[in-house]
Symmetry: C2
Subunit: 273 residues, 2 copies
């Protein structure tokens, strides 16, 4: 089912490009909306710059933690800050493993060196840390602690999973990635399907990035509001404006959306029809 | 002056990405406007897919006509049709030669094999042929004719130059590419400079793509209207709407804009500030 016209790295780049262009995407950067510090062009520049790391992942060789680190470093050359850290946590294993089954095996095989490489990459980004996280990436002792406890990168994700739906994908067989890809197949071809898929996830899965930033109540309100749009009680553009005004940006679902587009493209879903 | 953070191929990709996102860009596809058959995502997909050909060009080895052919083939895998044919005619020599001086030398060294490879690539695209062009790319005899006349790719561009400002760049030392890059340096950093640069070119250089499609009178009217925007007599968004309604898309100036951004980026101009 793999498209003969594109490589795995190219499909991953297409997924990143299609996700950020899709609009209106409530609260997130899209074709018609920038953040003050991170603009459409920053996301698209990262999409271009990630190519070598994605090609490295596509070889299925080397260490996942290190390759995620390469992706973060390669994309950390513009002033837009972190754009795809969460996306790389999903995309790199998926590209490396040639799909979800291979990714599940790959993440289970990570070791402490992956965890160390990952934390070093993490330190380069401005990713919001959960206050309850024990391992502070800015603490030089953190790397020693990883080594002392012999924590693999899988262990790190397990540690983060309760509060982070991206990390949770490593634990649960990429269940939301799978669901997003299935939704794209169901909805049908064309870029418009991405908005509908995103909205469906938004109406059913509390975004953990929103939760870390605004608390559980706000994250659950997001579900209700997305549901209202799906039920025709609210216009999508209105929800987008509301979220932007409130600083609600469902970034973790955006990461999962990218992974889902990648899987769907690899299974023959057509963005372009 | 070359930025240490990006490769030549990446700067060429950035130039393609920044050009298509810049808005409002009167008449052309931009962040907020698609054509019916060619959408923002098609231009961005081509930007992703062109990477191998751009990297090939960056080696400074191989034959320019063939590398342009590779770029056209690599980007011809979506349903958006030709997006960057004219841009590649400029970008490939510029990347190959490491700048304008090297490009001038490289285009002078083309031979009949470049011309043949170019025409074979040309046949893949839907580029509008000038009715007065003698060499019909859809005519199988065209390739024989190139060989019989021993026409180099430089000769082909010379043949096209009277009616094609992109081909003319090969003849005149990339004079508009240079001017566009100088404008970016003068206007200053940031993506907004691209729109101002494009508008300045639009107000001074009749777009030959518009001329082939609509005739000389319309192409010259474009200059007057762009001038009105620069003089504050008309709003840019109004001009954009007028051009879109009339099917006026200054595609050759878009190609030159891409080349100019590439040169400016390579000389240290910052898109991202």
């Amino acid at each position: 089912m793999m498209s003969p016209l594109t490589s795995a790295a190219e499909r991953a780049q297409l997924a990143m490009m299609l996700e950020v262009c899709a609009f209106p995407k409530p609260g997130n950067v899209d074709r018609c909306h920038d953040y003050a510090d991170t603009k459409l062009e920053h996301f698209l520049a990262s999409t271009i710059f990630a190519r070598p790391a994605l090609e490295e992942a596509a070889t299925g060789k080397g260490r996942i933690g290190e390759i995620i680190g390469h992706a973060v470093k390669q994309t950390n050359v513009h002033k837009g800050g972190n754009t795809h850290f969460g996306a790389f946590i999903l995309l790199i294993p998926l590209v490396y493993g040639g799909g979800i089954d291979g990714a599940v095996q790959a993440v289970a095989r990570t070791d402490v060196s992956d965890a160390v490489a990952f934390y070093k990459a993490f330190a380069l980004t401005n990713v919001r840390m959960n206050k309850t996280d024990e391992i502070d990436v800015n603490d030089p002792k953190a790397l020693d602690m990883l080594r002392d406890r012999n924590m693999t990168l899988y262990d790190v994700m397990q540690h983060s999973a309760p509060n982070d739906m991206v990390a949770r994908e490593w634990m649960n067989g990429f269940i939301l990635t799978r669901r997003g890809a299935d939704l794209l197949h169901q909805i049908g071809p064309g870029r418009e399907a991405i908005v509908e898929m995103f909205l469906t996830l938004l109406a059913t899965e509390p975004d953990t990035f929103v939760m870390k930033k605004h608390g559980r109540a706000v994250a659950e309100e997001v579900l209700v509001k997305a549901r209202e749009v799906m039920d025709g009680k609210k216009v999508l553009e209105t929800l987008d404006a509301e979220f932007i005004a409130a600083g609600i940006n469902p970034g973790s679902l955006a990461d999962i959306t990218i992974a889902a587009i990648y899987i769907a493209l690899s299974e023959g879903w057509e963005w372009d029809s």
